[in-house]
Amino acid sequence: MNSTTLWLIGRRLGAGIVTLLIVSMVVFAITAVLPGDAAQQTLGQFATPEQVAALRVKLGLDQPGVLRYLHWLMNLLTGDLGESVSSATPVSELMAGRVPNTLMLAGATALVSIPAALVLGIGSAMGRGGRIDSVLSFFTLAMVAVPEFLVATLAVLIFAVNLGWLSSLSYASDISSPWQFMRTYALPVMTLCCVIVAQMARMTRAAVIDQLDSPYVEMARLKGIGPVRIVLRHALPNAIGPIANAIALSLSYLLGGVVIVETIFNYPGIASLMVDAVTNRDMALVQACTMLFCAAYLGLVLLADLCAILSNPRLRNQ
């Protein structure tokens, strides 16, 4: 770590805070223009206008949007995420119940998908143009193209309904043994892997091939170094930057974008919480979820950039 790196981290963190602030404003504005508000949503299709008006006053929805936003922002600075309108519980409590589930699913998926993607990507880069590469390319492209709801539904039909091996639902709270953990997480992890392994493997392949084409690799080859050593010792360290970025993007997707998988497997994670929040016009909860996604995304990208810098001696020692 030197001053350049620290300066970069500091600048990034500063920019991150500004980004979060802008995102929160945009989200607040967009939620405000959606038809209906929390009072209407709570009271439903057949509420009387008097009821809606009374509830609006109770929830503070009668105040102008700018005031409500500033109020929310002030509370956030003191660490108070506010109260969820739809369930009358603190937002922090709702989040605390869901974040561990999301992290668990994302962690399990990362554990399986990253090694798989690296092996597939490096393997096809080494055998570029050969049979293995063509087969792997075909399958990874096919997996990118198939939507996840189809993969998930087919997997449930085969493994849960027809074969009866696995559970069609995933509960985060009912797990007491590693075997149960495997049974519960097998299908959602498999589905998510199908989506992200393909992306990461493609990126890895491209990054490694890019390095393999460079003069220093040719030099190494002329010196008579074996292909495995060339890739692992020479090419891969130089390809870490782009690979880390691809992994970071995929992981940020796991933290907030897996709503389809959560819906199909009835998994209580953070993405479905956010969908609920938008449906119920639950402003505090929408904001909290967005802030979390956005912060996780910025954090992961920052980490990826740090990886790239630290793996590059030129940048590291500048």
Binding site: G44, T48, E50, A53, L169
Partner: protein
């Protein structure tokens, strides 16, 4: 019922409809069992539920001792979010109602013919349908050990009048001008105007009884058959058998885990893979998958739920009675029934009372698809070649498909309709009733009076078509106060005739509720109120495993 050789394990829609209609006409229990055949006896389960139809407060002894105690089941509803609530006043969706009936009881409850039966009330007396005296059972305790008293009932009913409660039935309770305890176990309700239907109003899930002074409803303290083991909004709830339940021998199950799976194919998959024992809101398209499985069956529950074509009467072209009449003639009801709902529906006759329900007028001539007559009427109104937008949305069940069918049949009569498909969000507030032609969807209401008052009275806020009919309004008030059953029936028949002929509402079909149930679940009978046995399965079913 031997004429269904293909799938003998399934009680088909038509069959259950026939039984349902006969029940409501007062068929004897023996005949019904005969109709259902041997296979149906188990499904019909609790035998004494077959009371004399139409008779308010008929004897309806609990069918204790028939089922097998014990067992744990998992049930999946259709929707769940952080808005899930255990406050009966706020109940918005089937998932809420199911939970409320697990943990609470009402003063009355609906039986299989939507006739109110006594529950926490031991007696209900009235003078001129204006002053009602309710005597409570004395042997009832809440889950926290407190005895049920009149004060609890007064609190439970009064809280709906406060707008801040956020009650879904505030309008219904406004007619209770005074609710007071006239004794430790006696409550008096004075109505602002006579209403003979009070017992059925008291049976709605929102008016379930909570202990006096409750502020935190997440504990679910009630008098119901189950106590709250766990309640996580948007995730799941676990109901644990209430050992001190006041109905001897009930409930049968030890524990019910209730979750929701929003995605319909996933819900069906969860049932078929054995992960859950019961699901509701099955798409008619999925019924063949369920009935093909040996371990599962489809339960088709005829209901009063309908999706209606709304023809605004306060603007052109609906202002023209010929146009309105022509639109009703252009609804191809049989096609809607078979193409949109795969037969899981019953043909409607442009009034809101479903066939087989109390007070349904079956003597009205059935409106049938007649493009020729429609063309003639349109020509007569000078509208033979107009183009109209038709607003539909997934929010109103099946309305987009019905709209497309209507567009096709309207072409036959020379009328051009442009189907305008709108998203669900904001549809109820900003689009239904705001266009000359749109679609609505109305869930079953506790009784004909509530249905007519909420959706057909001239001054009602949800008078969908905006029709004005003085005769109808007068009949509505007269019928409400009429304690003579025969006279009231006649008035309701006349009102249906008026709606059928003059109102701007086209009711193509009444949509059935379809549940998927594991064969090991016994005591499961359809209820017209809604899926999951009218949301009340928890107390009655048992697991035969």
């Amino acid at each position: 019922m031997t004429d269904h050789p293909k799938r003998p394990e399934l009680i088909s829609g038509e069959e259950s409809l026939r039984v349902f209609e006969h029940l409501n006409r007062g068929m004897s229990r023996r005949n019904v069992l005969h109709m259902l055949g041997v296979a149906g006896v188990a499904a019909a389960g609790a035998g004494s539920l077959f009371g004399a139809a139409g008779k308010v407060l008929a004897e309806d002894a609990p069918a204790a001792g028939t089922g097998k105690p014990g067992g744990r089941i998992r049930v999946a509803g259709m929707s769940s979010s952080t808005a899930d609530t255990l406050d009966p006043a706020k109940g918005a969706l089937s998932t809420d109602y199911v939970r409320h009936y697990m943990f609470y009881n009402g003063l009355t409850r609906f039986d299989r013919h939507m006739t109110p039966q006594l529950e926490l009330a031991e007696r209900i007396d009235n003078s001129d349908a204006l002053l009602w005296t309710i005597t409570l059972r004395k042997d009832v305790t809440f889950h926290n050990g407190k005895s049920l008293t009149a004060a609890d009932v007064v609190f439970s009913l009064n809280r709906h009048k406060d707008p801040l409660t956020g009650s879904k039935v505030m309008a219904l309770v406004e007619q209770f001008s005074e609710i007071k305890a006239s004794g430790p176990n006696e409550v008096q309700i004075r109505l602002s105007a006579a209403n003979a239907e009070l017992p059925s109003i008291l049976a709605v899930s929102h008016l379930l009884i909570v202990p006096e002074g409750t502020t935190d409803f997440n504990k679910g303290i009630g008098t119901g058959p189950f106590t709250v083991g766990e309640f996580k909004p948007g995730v799941r709830s676990i109901a644990v058998r209430n050992k001190n339940y006041w109905k001897p021998g009930l409930p049968y199950l030890d524990e019910i885990e209730f979750i929701a799976i929003g995605d319909e194919p996933s819900r069906v998959n969860a049932l078929l893979s054995g992960d859950v024992h019961m699901i509701n809101e099955v798409n008619p398209r999925s019924t063949t998958r369920i009935s093909a499985s040996a371990g599962h069956r489809v339960v088709d529950a005829p209901s009063g739920n309908y999706t209606d074509l709304i023809i605004r009467q306060d603007q052109m072209p609906g202002k023209s009675p010929e146009f309105t009449q022509a639109m009703k003639l252009l609804l191809d009801r049989e096609q809607v029934k078979s193409a949109v709902f795969r037969g899981y529906a019953r043909v409607g006759n442009d009034h809101p009372i479903s066939p087989g329900a109390r007070y349904c007028n079956t003597d009205l001539p059935q409106t049938t698809y007649d493009p020729e007559k429609a063309r003639f009427l349109l020509k007569k109104a000078g509208m033979e070649s107009i183009t109209m937008p038709l607003v539909a949305s997934p929010a109103a069940t099946g309305s987009v498909d019905i709209a497309v069918l209507l567009q096709q049949s309207a072409r036959e009569a020379g009328l051009k309709l442009n189907v305008n498909r709108l998203p669900s969000a904001g549809y109820w507030s900003y689009h239904r009733m705001h266009h000359p032609l749109s679609f609505g969807n109305i869930n079953p209401r506790p009784n004909a009076d509530v249905m007519f008052s909420q959706f057909f009275q001239s001054k009602a806020p949800w008078n969908e078509s905006g029709w004005q009919n003085e005769q109808f309004d007068q009949l509505l008030l007269l019928a409400r106060a009429e304690v003579d059953e025969a006279k009231r029936t006649r008035m309701y028949h006349d009102m249906q005739a008026l709606v059928h002929e003059h109102c701007g509402i086209g009711v193509p079909v009444f949509i059935s509720n379809i549940d998927g149930v594991d064969q090991r679940i016994k005591g499961y009978v359809a209820n017209p109120l809604g899926g999951f046995m009218g949301y009340m399965f928890a107390e009655q079913v048992w697991l035969d495993a």
